[in-house]
């Protein structure tokens, strides 16, 4: 019973309070993982353009 209460406190109450902070969104481009290979590729492209 206490587990369910704790779960509700963490998910509903804390989750709601946390959502009021201006965290980056899951789909924000700036938060997207960019692999080293991808970074090298885009660096290569910008070098080509110069």
């Amino acid at each position: 019973m206490s587990f369910i209460l704790e779960l509700l406190l963490f998910i509903v109450v804390l989750g709601w309070l946390d959502s009021r902070l201006r965290w980056p969104k899951p789909n924000d481009k700036s938060q997207r993982y960019v692999s080293i290979a991808e970074r090298s590729k885009s660096l290569g492209r910008s070098d080509d353009g110069q």
């Binding site: 206490s2 587990f3 963490f10 946390d18 959502s19 902070l21 965290w23 969104k25 899951p26 997207r32």
Partner: protein, 205 residues
């Protein structure tokens, strides 16, 4: 272990702030959520260690489906796909890993009651390193997880609040007190984590 799982979710939030906290908190306890469902259906159960009154770490947990290695992997993969669809690959992988982290942490504390295959099919050896046999050490391990989690959450929340206030100031908007909100949420996080650990350790509730 309950608080330690929540502590780990807080650590992940500190490192990966784009993943919503509610999703991390649910993911870290997802195996136990399914356990509660199967417990209510009389499919899974727990029994006190003979000679003890049960309580913190003094249980043999018969979670032969939800806490089997293969069962945990299946639940983790389903959760990963469910998060991957709306939030992308990286966040899907994070959610899947957080779900499976429950099994890893339980492997450390459980007393050799975690099967490999669902329903303990094939009667293979059951797993668990049994840290619960040394309650004070298990308590300290959980305490370390919640302290690191609370600190990392606080750090990330304050950093996010400072950025938000700077952005508002730049845009000429009225400051909304993000730092105060971040501090209050961090304090509540710490209080809930510590309260959960103490309630579990002393068998309150």
């Amino acid at each position: 272990m309950i608080a330690g799982h929540f502590g780990l979710a807080a650590i992940v939030k500190g490192r990966e702030p784009q993943v919503p906290l509610w999703a991390l908190m649910l993911s870290t306890q997802l195996l136990d959520v399914f356990f509660v469902v199967l417990f209510l259906l009389n499919i899974e159960s727990f029994t006190p260690i003979p000679g003890t009154g049960g309580g913190y770490g003094n249980m043999i947990i018969h979670a032969d489906y939800t806490h089997s290695l293969v069962g945990a992997l299946v639940i983790s993969i389903v959760a990963m796909i469910a998060a991957w669809i709306p939030w992308g690959r990286r966040n899907g992988l994070i959610i899947g890993a957080v779900v499976f982290s429950h099994w890893i942490l339980d492997l450390i504390v459980h007393r050799g009651d975690m099967p490999i295959l669902p329903g303990n099919a094939g009667d293979l050896p059951t797993l668990g390193f049994g840290l619960w046999a040394i309650p004070w050490l298990s308590f300290l391990a959980e305490l370390a997880l919640i302290l690191v989690g609370a600190y990392m959450y606080y750090h990330a929340a304050m950093r996010t609040a400072v950025v938000a206030e700077r952005q508002d100031a730049k845009a000429g908007a009225t400051p909304k007190g993000y730092r105060r909100q971040a501090l209050l949420t961090s304090i509540l996080m710490f209080v809930l984590l510590l309260g959960t650990l103490l309630a579990d350790f002393f068998g309150i509730g």
